[in-house]
Amino acid sequence: MDYFAFLDLPRNLTIDANAAKDLEKRFYALSRQLHPDLHSRKSPAEREQAEESTAVLNDAYRTLRDPVARAEYLLKLEGFDIGEQTTKDVPPELLEEVFELNMALEEADIPQLESARQKFEGMRGEIDVELQQAFARWDATGNREALTAVRGILNRRKYITNLINQTNVPDRI
């Protein structure tokens, strides 16, 4: 059973406030049925089952409540190969920025890194808007081309996120 079916949800990508509330409600209701704490006086086999099914519930909730994890999961379900993002190939439009970032990292130029981080976070903000639009397209049409677009945007987003992580100097020390 896939996570959407497990939590009785349509395979939609947009999570607005109502959808988030519904998801949480289902998660709490299922937790009250499945959680190992409520089965501790049962047989070892039943207790193990409670651990297993609650683990699936928790994994499902964690995946579906996060827009990016949810989209990646749906792509996989729909047969898209998301694979490991290769960070070696720099997208041509980012060549200059990545070069500047590497210079700043080499020189440990903190102000330069800070401004790089702000620039990349701005880019990620723009990507997120794009992602919302692609999500809405899939939800409205169920068109696989919309998912192809989602995959492309997610790949770019992942690349930018990697760059942002690299600018986090304190984490690297």
Partner: protein, 609 residues
């Protein structure tokens, strides 16, 4: 004839603390807690184990046979504790090269123990205390651990429970337990932060409350930060003073260090409500006096207090909340009595923290609530906790690939498929680590396992699916199967730190063999069962006509004997209880006879009268 009904499912909640340990249980709707037991263990020259208050004096008289703060050693390797060894008088006994890798052994007198065995002595004492108070055997427990405890530290705690003869139904995170204790009759909805600064560990947890569900959003902390560190600062001042005033370095004289340590702790505690406190010490005809003002004290501990704030900020960030969204802050742990700590928490969260419940008892009270949830006596409340550290596997280049992220709700699982790199390869070694760093060497090594007996095939052909499950105790379980055949794959798990299953079993056997303590507890419990029976029988007999036939002197004699029995009842001397039962038996002889003769009731007949 009189059956004392045992609630066989009585599950106790235990706070196994660095400084003090407590046991509690649910009494109808409220948790009840017994007086705390200092987490001090000593071996007497005759080999008898001394635990708690009585062991405190042993710290001074026999420092080489006595240990405190053993929690700091739980689930750790020799290399981890080098810093601790400078500060604590632990006598490490490891000499065997091979063994030094996996588990620490501590020397107490002429015997050596692993940290779980020492913790088991504390647990056994708590078990006995609970059995004596409840008048029934106790075999099931919920034990609390710092939220930031890693897998090895949790396993060590569970092992300690088993060695003490307890079935550990659940390990609960201390701050979460505290939230349960506070949540008893509090708000239905809201976000709460629990700040827990104990004797040796610091935890911060942020929870969301929703109709009885306590959902932990994030947790953070430091498993080596607490009141102990404050004590050391004060102790060092005193030792330096002695060095300059007396010209003697006494930092290696166990008796002096332990006496001074108790003195500085007393001063530290006074400083929570007085502007200054004195440290007084006399030794071999010389005396030392030092006044510590609160200003000096606060300067001394400022960086310790500050070290708790970083984890608090990270925790808020991970929980996705700002301080405005936090409705309540709860303080736990003895060190939160320090005004400077309270002030720092108030400034950080901009909320006046809750301190209604005794910070020493609140974790045990919460553990009792969780015990009630597991026993089915507490309904409608449920804890959803998280794993404090990310779980990862080492991949090429020593890099960690994270498979379960920190703050994931537990139970949590992940599956990974492994294959071979060389034609005909029949086994694959996998290294599992815990932590947030990028390189495996910077993370905590949890275990290595060997996927064995893989059918020889060309490289990359075998597909072994490994499932990692972090259970509701926060402990990792690993299973593997061949993805092609679906057959279970044999794995050989080697924990990096801690006891193997065989070692734990051997210790349980040894504990049963040397089970004088358990035997003693059982005898006390049985004596109390008999005492209950006779007391109940006499209460009933008082409504019998036979009671009125006794003389005033006879009735007075019986009342005296009852009072005597009630006095020894809560003690742990089963001989005293038995002797007093005999006395009561004797003085009620005529009463029983009269009752039997008049055949009104056989109330006293079935008992030992």
């Amino acid at each position: 004839m009189f059956q004392i009904e045992f609630d066989n499912d009585k599950v106790v909640g235990i706070d196994l603390g660095t400084t003090n340990s407590l046991v509690a249980w649910m009494n109808l709707t409220r948790p009840e807690v017994l007086p705390l037991v200092p987490s001090i263990v000593s071996v007497s020259p005759s080999g008898e184990m001394i635990v708690g208050d009585k062991a405190r004096q042993e710290l001074i008289d026999h420092p080489d046979r006595t240990i405190y703060s053993v929690k700091r050693l739980m689930g750790r390797g020799i290399a981890d504790v080098q810093e601790e060894l400078k500060l604590f008088p632990f006598h490490i006994a490891n000499s065997d090269e091979k063994e030094s890798e996996s588990i620490i052994r501590v020397r107490l007198g002429d015997r050596t123990f692993t940290p779980p065995e020492i913790s088991a002595f504390i647990l056994r004492q708590l078990k006995q205390n609970a059995e004596a108070a409840l008048g029934q055997p106790v075999t099931k427990a919920v034990i609390t651990v710092p939220a930031y405890f890693n897998d090895a530290q949790r396993q060590a705690t569970r092992d300690a429970g088993r060695i003490a003869g307890l079935e550990v139904l659940r390990l609960v995170n201390e701050p979460t337990a505290a939230a349960l204790a506070y949540g008893l009759d509090k708000r239905q909805e809201g976000i709460i932060a629990v700040y827990d600064l104990g004797g040796g560990t610091f935890d911060i947890s942020i929870l969301k409350l929703h109709e009885g569900i306590f959902e932990v959003l994030a947790t953070n902390g430091d498993t080596h930060l607490g009141g102990d560190d404050i004590d050391h600062r004060l102790l060092n001042i005193a030792l330096e003073d002695l060095q300059s005033e007396w010209g003697e370095d006494l930092s290696h004289v166990g008796e002096v260090v332990q006496t001074l340590r108790q003195e500085v702790i007393r001063a530290k505690e006074s400083l929570s409500f007085l502007p200054d406190a004195d440290i007084d010490f006399a030794w071999r005809g010389k005396s030392y006096h030092r006044e510590i003002t609160r200003d000096l004290f606060e300067n001394l501990i400022k960086d310790i207090v500050d070290r708790t704030l970083g984890p608090c900020r990270s925790c808020m960030k991970d929980a996705g909340v700002t301080h405005e969204q936090i409705d309540e802050v709860v303080l736990v742990g003895g060190s939160t009595r320090i005004p400077m700590v309270r002030g720092a928490v108030e400034v950080l969260f901009r909320t006046k923290p809750h301190t209604e419940l005794n910070p020493d008892e609140v974790v045990a009270l919460g553990a009792a609530v969780q015990a009630g949830i597991l026993a089915g006596t507490v309904e409608n409340q449920l804890l959803l906790d998280v794993t404090p550290l990310s779980l990862g596997i080492e991949i090429s280049g020593g890099v960690v690939s994270k498979i379960i992220h920190r703050n994931s709700t537990i139970p949590a699982s992940a599956s990974e498929t492994f294959t071979t790199g060389v034609d005909g390869q029949t086994n694959v070694l996998i290294h599992v680590v815990q932590g947030e760093r990028e390189l495996a060497k910077d993370c905590r090594s949890l275990l290595r396992f060997d996927l064995k007996d893989i059918a020889p095939m060309p490289a990359g052909m075998p597909r072994i699916e490994v499932r990692f499950l972090i259970d509701a105790n926060g402990i990792l379980n690993v299973t593997a199967r061949d993805a092609r055949t679906g057959k279970e794959q044999s794995i050989d798990v080697q924990p990096s730190y801690g006891l193997t299953l065989e070692q734990t079993e051997a210790m349980i056997d040894a504990a049963i063999e040397h089970g004088e303590e358990d035997l003693h507890a059982a005898q006390v419990a049985l004596a109390r069962v008999d005492a209950d029976a006779i007391l109940l029988a006499i209460e009933k007999a008082k409504h019998n006509d036979a009671w009125l036939e006794l003389t005033d002197a006879e009735r007075e004699e019986i009342s005296d004997a009852i009072r005597q029995l009630q006095t020894v009842y809560h003690g742990d001397d089963h001989h005293a209880i038995r002797d007093t039962i005999d006395i009561l038996n004797d003085v009620t002889h005529k009463l029983a006879e009269t009752m039997m003769n008049t055949a009104v009731s056989g109330a006293l007949k079935g008992t030992k009268i």
